[in-house]
Symmetry: C2
Subunit: 369 residues, 2 copies
């Protein structure tokens, strides 16, 4: 078991990472907030697989609890479902010192965390991430929210959890596609500024996918990497934007496919987006072609898509994709902000990217299909 501390002053919290931790959840929650009641937010699928173990753990430690469930899938990250979750919390008579427990992947973490942020103007929450993506990404940093018709994650709040319990055993029940998608975010941390971690991943990818000890280490390193960035810039006014490597292109792809997880899940969009960011950097004479190939090779070996042509059902024209990028919240005063790279693990924030270059690049990519 490893513990990663996210250092945010009064809002600091621990991420416990390891096997078998779900069974200890009640004990940890009771120790953290004696006497608090808990409302678990989860989805119907996860409720079938993991809820009884969590409830048993809470019962064992004498923590009173109730549960709100939502439908599985990205469609639940909506204002409508948010209202339903809040209503569930209020009907459970959640008080200010009680806790919301988000048991699920990124969707549940974002939704339940946002519901906690705005119910009674803010109650605390605990995350028990059940996907690799959630364990390495959404459980660190306090970004919560839902999607708008105008774009992904455009409605939300910064609300830090008070504890994250990342039980690596839960990942064994993940569909392989979801596991691979989460791995795209793990790779991202290497490509931002940890080339040695990327090299380690090249060597340990098979052990990670076989649920060996390298998995816990990969998660811990990813959480440590993200925690460092977030500590330095909690509300994304500066360096935190580095975490968006692959995400500006990726979000546009997700928007263009209507957030339809049967076509493209977030991590797959990030894998393609990361590749595009490297290719675009190469086009701009920033990054050498060998690095681009090496990144593509690693993502392909992990079973991830790397080309726009791999998106089932096709994509809209380049100018429409650029519109989606323009609506992305990382736009400032009309210039485009991208995370570009000068080589392996040498990413930086480019806040003056000409939209015309992006359009030409995307047009070329789409024509190749």
């Amino acid at each position: 078991m490893q513990t990663v501390k996210v250092d945010l002053g009064r809002r600091s919290y621990d991420i416990a990472i390891g096997g078998g931790l779900l069974a200890e959840a009640g004990e940890r929650i009771a120790a953290l907030r004696p006497g608090a009641r808990v409302v678990i937010v989860t989805d119907d699928n996860l409720a079938r697989v993991h809820l009884s173990a969590l409830q048993a753990s809470l019962d064992k430690s004498g923590v009173a609890h109730s549960t709100v469930t939502v439908a599985p899938g990205e469609a639940s990250k909506s204002m409508t479902v948010l209202s339903q979750v809040i209503s569930g919390l209020l009907q459970a008579r959640l008080e200010r010192n009680d806790l919301v427990v988000a048991l699920g992947g990124g969707v549940i973490g974002d939704l339940a965390g946002f519901a906690a942020a705005v119910t009674r103007r803010g109650v605390d929450f605990v995350q028990i991430p059940t996907s690799l993506l959630a364990q390495v990404d959404s459980s660190v940093g306090g970004k919560t929210g839902v999607n708008a018709a105008e774009g992904k994650n455009l409605i939300g709040a910064f609300h830090q959890p008070v504890l994250v319990i990342a039980d690596t055993d839960l990942l064994r029940t993940l569909p392989p596609r979801e596991f691979r998608a989460g791995y795209a975010e793990v790779v991202k941390y290497g490509l931002i500024d940890r080339p040695e971690f990327f090299e380690w991943l090249e060597e340990n990818r098979e052990e990670i996918f076989a649920f060996g000890p390298a998995l816990e280490q990969a998660i811990a390193t990813s959480c440590t990497a993200k925690a460092q960035v977030v500590s330095a810039d909690e509300t994304e006014s500066g360096a935190r934007a580095l975490l968006n490597l692959g995400h500006t292109f990726g979000h546009a792809l997700e928007a263009a496919t209507g957030y339809d997880g049967t076509r493209l899940v977030h991590g797959e969009a990030v894998a393609i987006g990361t590749t595009l960011a490297h290719e675009f950097s190469n086009r701009m004479n920033l990054c050498d072609a060998d690095t681009v190939s090496r990144v593509r090779r690693h993502l392909v070996a992990a079973g991830l898509p790397v080309d726009t042509g791999e998106v089932p059902g096709g994509l809209p024209p380049a100018d429409r994709l650029l519109d989606y990028i323009g609506q992305d919240k990382k736009v400032k005063r009309g210039r485009l902000t991208f995370i570009l790279t000068k080589g392996l693990g040498r990413s930086y924030i480019a806040d003056d990217v000409p939209p015309a270059e992006v359009l030409a690049f995307l047009s070329g990519k789409l024509q190749k299909r």
Copy 2:
């Protein structure tokens, strides 16, 4: 013109109070945030009365602007209308450095402020309060939010404005009932801990209601009083609860009348709630009967209701009212928290009020009708 500074560290802001300030709004906004675009949020009624003056002022200072309007009334403080406002902000392509301007009373301030708090995880907002209630209460302290089916203001965020422009001339177009209702909150500041301000109000009430110079002074003193409490306790973990004098009873009355402003507006509920808080304090042998009479007399002279019997359409039984109090967010661990008083301007937080005493008190009040 007076300026009250709300001291909240990095989130400090000024409240400008005086006549004719709406015409200066563009200049002040341009100075505060050069180059920012503005989306005005207002309601259909206020748009007819004040919008063109605000737009002219913004045009004069070269501030680009667009407008989102909602239906007037408390019903707009809902998750549904919140979604519409957020959608309007996103469609106007509001960016992180732009500003939302809330032009309206408490409903618009709460709604637009909350929309600003959660759009793109937080954009800044300016308040131009158009009601007395909004100028003395909701413009100070950063509480934003909407109502839930389960109770008033149960969904929201703490989000401080970056500037408040309180133009006292706007109050001349208020319906007299709304002006009186706002006055209930002015009186409240005297009754919390400023007996000398209450005495000053007794002497100056007529000048205030005649829009004399005492009005600006009353607003400035109220804002100063609230700012002091808020500075000491921004997120209502302690002393800020004093501002709820009259509000625990008041919110129950509003909930019991279905937030129907034709029956009871917020300030009227506060006037009755304040009277009940004093009467209940007297029943608990905390406050002398002369103080109760004096408070009643002043509120009655201002044309405000003070008895539950004055609520048109009647009220549910006492136990149902207590249920509404129990759902109020100021409940902690099953005990009831009320703001009670030991005399004129000597209010305090009583966090151990027995529900049975409240039930007996309310039963007695309701039977008297």
